[in-house]
Subunit: 433 residues, 2 copies
């Protein structure tokens, strides 16, 4: 279909949502996608561009002239436009910006470029409806109409004073129901949540989802209204956070997808596997140190994978619960309470599991002392693993490091080593060798 | 402070956001929380109730009369009210409903109770602004004002025909800018995304976040408008989904939090640990079968934790990427391509790791053939683990089972066993024993 039948293609794509066009563009060849983008109206393609995979977008933009890129940018909200400009090669940025006809729009984009990507400023858009507290309702409605031209969706009407300081918000409902001559001062709601431009995206997400907000105004250091963040951007932040935590827990270090190249995937996976290798070599070295036991108690060696697996699993379980509690900000109580709780919990789990193991080993080899030694070691290993799993994320969090890295290979590896060490020590002690 | 100083308490809490009051109520004693709720206006407490932890809410509701509960429900949107009613003991539901003064509100709540919790119907609220396509703009604005009384936030104005069939939507902007006598028929936008009442919440979340929607209308089987879902409910769905996947990956089977009781936490964690125990016992049994090798090649046994850890890590990595790809619906290409890719990837990772291991083992024990055997087995184990990790979630997904259970202890355990079996087989083959 891709060959020349422009008009047919156009009529087919006309009714397709931009997100679906983006999905198609992601899957076809680069030059075909470029062709498609050039064919369609910039009204639609601009939205398509924001939805494309990074690498596809980069390839397409390379084939567009500065003027064509500028046209796309004009159709976009300032936050999306700024994101695209930030990805452009430095040498063409200036030219692209100068080609944007709407100077206010260009200024807003340039303003947004100043903010760090990983902050509220990097997320916000300049499009918003704001009114001065000294206006009356009629002026306000008139002003709103002009402003609303540039704003796709009106979330809230923000009220500012002459210095642009955010004072409150106005509800559409109140505006519709009060007399047209009433001054805004008398009708606006002086309570409004806002975030500072330097706030972290995760914190903005937490505030917005806690208070069920659909948009939040962003203010600078002295309280001036500089932009607004909408919930759809926050949905992306929440999803990315969750994906990152999930990948960290699974031992994948970069943000990769199943369809990335083998080299990218290797780079993301190899470091964690390497950590596992070091852990395994450590475990082997420990076992080598207990080699003299092998002739009398070979069975001890058979259970090392079990011990390692249990230590790893318990560690991941405890740390995952703490990581989630930290992320949701709902951890209560003191550290020592948590310690007691985790020890009780681990002992309970350990007792049940050790009892099962005791009977199995006893029947298998008929040697009760060895079976008992293995089971008691298992309890000790589980308790230590639980403690390490609980405290590693708490410790990292206190030091300002993302506690999510504590789940996954990191905790598994360290627990493997500790587990096996404890296991052989205790077994040696009990069996008196 | 909690003792009697009502007026002081009231004045303090007056300016506190309901989500913060809920946080306080979650932390204090049950009877104090009940006291607090009774003290405050139902206008505020109703919102507090929706934000409380399940167990705290249950305890508080038990201490309220049917009339008091009905008052709270009247202040809530129908979706939140229905959620609370669904949690009430059956015997008092009827009484509570009959105490609700606003009959339309009561009817809407009862309607919502009919829908399954895990569906679009269970998520939606009845509050929405709808207009008939046969009205003109003036009637429409008048009608909207009355309807808007019951709706906290107006997202979209939905247009229906005489049979209540959803026809399209109306933008506030267009409404403000067209002449008041124009019929709605001529100004509405006939394209509107909607979901069926039986749609799964995850699918609704996918659609809303893909198309950046802030509200989506819900229609029944014949296209009648029955409710709407807003993005704040979807944010909760997305978060819960992410938490569930994360917990499954970490081997925690129920939705628990760090502050739940030890018994709850044990119930959530023990089953997966038990799975790990069985895996460990299986691994021990396999090693027992190779016991005759222990005298000559004890070193083989030292590396079993390493082999098990590698098999587990690789399995979790591959499955996590597939699980995420399935969740985001962005897996492309055929199964056989994916197979080839995973094998290449695993081989590449395996080669690098095996090479490191080879040198380490060689220098440690000075026995090249054994070192080579261990390293070659490692490659084989990594490749098999990668294949199992890739295909288990794909297989589960095809069978309609949540692929997320494939990550975590499940894959770790099976890969431990397979890994150790393959390791000893290949080592035996190479060393010719």
């Amino acid at each position: 279909i891709e060959e020349q039948q422009d008009s047919r293609l156009l009529s087919i794509l006309e009714d397709v949502h931009y997100a679906d066009v983006a999905e198609i563009a992601n899957e076809i060849e680069e030059d075909q996608a470029t062709y498609l983008i050039k064919l369609l109206d910039s009204d639609k393609t601009s939205d398509v561009l924001t939805e494309l995979d990074d690498d596809v977008r980069e390839a397409i933009l390379k084939n567009l002239s500065s003027k064509e890129i500028a046209e796309e940018l004009e159709e976009l909200d300032t936050d999306d436009a700024a994101d695209i400009v930030a990805e452009l090669p430095k040498e063409i940025v200036q030219q692209v910006i100068s080609e944007i006809e709407d100077r206010d729009h260009a200024e807003a984009i340039v303003d947004l470029l100043r903010y760090e990507e990983n902050s509220a400023g990097g997320l916000m858009a300049k499009e918003l409806v704001k009114v001065n507290e000294n206006w009356n309702v009629l002026t306000c409605v008139k002003e709103m109409r002009t402003q609303a031209e540039n704003v796709t969706r009106v979330h809230s009407i923000y009220v500012v004073d002459d210095q642009d300081i955010l004072k409150g918000r106005l509800s559409l409902k109140d505006l519709l129901t009060t007399s047209t001559t009433a001054p805004i001062k008398d009708v606006y709601i002086p309570k409004v949540d806002s975030v500072n431009v330097n706030e972290k995206p995760e914190e903005v997400a937490r505030i917005m989802s806690k208070y069920d907000l659909e948009a939040i105004p962003v203010v600078d250091e002295i309280g001036r209204l500089v932009g607004r963040i909408t919930i759809d951007d926050i949905v992306d932040v929440i999803k990315e956070e969750a994906e990152k935590d999930y990948q960290l827990a699974a031992g994948i270090s970069q943000d990769v997808e199943a369809d990335d190249s083998i080299l990218d995937l290797t780079r993301a996976r190899l470091p964690w596997l390497f950590l596992g290798l070091i852990g395994g070599v450590g475990a082997a070295a420990i076992m080598g140190g207990f080699e003299e036991m092998i002739s009398k108690h070979a069975i001890l060696f058979f259970f090392t994978p079990l011990i390692a697996a249990m230590a790893g699993n318990v560690g991941v379980q405890s740390s995952a619960i703490i990581v989630q509690g930290l992320a949701n900000d709902d951890l209560k109580g003191s550290i020592s309470n948590r310690l007691v709780k985790e020890i009780l919990l681990a002992t309970l789990n350990g007792l049940v599991l050790a009892l099962v193991l005791l009977f199995f080993t006893w029947f298998w080899k008929g040697n009760f002392p060895t079976a008992l030694a293995i089971s008691i070691s298992l309890i000790a290993v589980i308790v230590v693993a639980g403690i390490i799993g609980t405290f590693t994320p708490l410790f990292l969090h206190k030091r300002g490091i993302d506690p999510a890295i504590a789940t996954g290979p990191f905790i598994t590896t360290s627990n493997d080593i500790f587990g096996i060490l404890i296991y052989f020590w205790i077994a040696k002690l009990i069996l008196g060798i």
